[in-house]
Symmetry: C2
Subunit: 230 residues, 2 copies
DNA sequence: AAAAATCGGTAGCTATGGCTACCTAAAGTG
DNA sequence: CACTTTAGGTAGCCATAGCTACCGATTTTT
């Protein structure tokens, strides 16, 4: 196994607290497959047969849901070491519930899910840790989705923006910060149209609550921003 | 341990494929606590300290999210044998991400989460199965939340209703069926106002797509319903 | 059985926000 | 360096859906 790949894997949450030597033994057991995908191609397509637990080794990919009408919602953007398809691995379902889209050239390792809960319990020492990691990962995933539901359930545009900005403010601990999402992506994330988002941001600027230029934002009136979040 | 409680537990997904005798040994190990809650009281309150993995032994409870503005969103309704708080059990978070509300008199068993991944690996035989069950449960939960995100991300009222009814149709395999939710609950689930929901249902009836009375629905024109879902 | 609470449909009013269109600035690309 | 593409702000139009109010029907409580 390529030393570079091992380096990514040991830093990946699924192999957390598993030593490179243990990992080496486990990989023999887990029987992984590595594929490469070019920019703007689909790594996995919603509705198609499940191809296993994915680990992104290099590149950047987006997990997206597309409604029948064609509108896309970005769930998350993942980078090297991140997983995808961990939800389906242990469920009865056998097809992708969302698409995975390569935003740059990507290389991906797939693990057959049966192997993780498989028979090699005695052989692999890191097995117990792997299971523990999976439990933590799935919990975290579920909680993230929960948070997403929270955002989507918010009705008002002003409210959505305010809550989002307050969260970013909390993360950065500064009045001025750079958003991790471009307007388009933010609009998708909050499930609103980009133009309406820009309009409301403009209004909030006119009211002296915030200043912004592209993805950088400055909070001028925290109290008013809080009021906007109700 | 009460025989009735054991009966509920062995039917609960968390103890699936664990025999009553194994269960008995495990319960000694897991150190559960049982509480009773009266109708319309809170079993757990969003934001308050986590009290452990909950198993509903009797009664009916609703998992609800309440936004700052006070609007409530029903996540699910659970019955005897169902779990709650399984997401937080293995995550770093230590407070409830949602509230659990007793819709009738409820009795609840709480398991300290440390115990599940705990040290008693060698002692308890059902331990491995328990872990497996937890993985399946968490996967299923995450997938359910995923589906919820799907619904919330849908913009149009007609689209939401159509997709919901088509799903119910698929479940029941009949043109006439009874919805599992009352209007209020359905409105909450789809995150729309009850009145707007009723109005749109009325329109769909006027267009000859459906008929309905209270929670019973009959699909008169499946093709048109499908078109409404885009 | 009467009273109270819940459930659900309808109507009118209005604000929110989606959509189209357009324009400028920035960033890639050959 | 010119050209294309992407990102983002602005404006006007208008349909969607939220809100209030009300009323009748049904269920629950006393």
């Amino acid at each position: 196994m390529d030393a570079n790949v091992v380096k990514i894997l040991v830093s990946s949450p699924i192999f957390r607290d598993i030593s490179p030597s243990q990992l080496d033994i486990m990989l023999d057991c887990l029987n992984p497959k590595i594929n490469t995908y070019s920019k703007n191609s689909y790594i996995a397509v919603e509705g198609e047969p499940y191809t296993g637990l994915g680990i992104l080794l290099s590149g950047e990919a987006a997990i997206i849901k597309e409604s029948a009408s064609g509108s896309r919602v970005i769930m998350t953007v993942i980078g090297p070491g991140d997983l995808f398809g961990e939800m389906i691995a242990f469920s009865p379902r056998k097809h992708w519930p969302a698409s995975v889209f390569a935003q740059g050239t990507c290389s991906v390792m797939f693990l057959p899910p049966e192997k993780i809960i498989g028979e090699c319990t005695q052989v692999c020492g890191g097995y117990k840790q792997l299971i523990k990691n999976m439990l933590v990962l799935l919990s975290t995933k579920a909680l993230m989705l929960n948070q997403r539901v929270e955002y989507l359930a918010i009705r008002g545009m002003r409210e959505k923006i305010s809550i989002y900005l307050l969260e970013q403010y909390k993360i950065n601990q500064k009045n001025t910060f750079v958003l991790p999402l471009k307007r388009n992506e933010l609009a998708d994330f909050l499930s609103v149209s980009r133009t309406a988002l820009s309009r409301e941001l403009g209004r909030m600027r006119d009211e002296g609550i915030i200043e912004f230029y592209r993805t950088s934002v400055k909070i001028n009136n925290l109290a008013m921003l809080r009021r906007g979040a109700e």
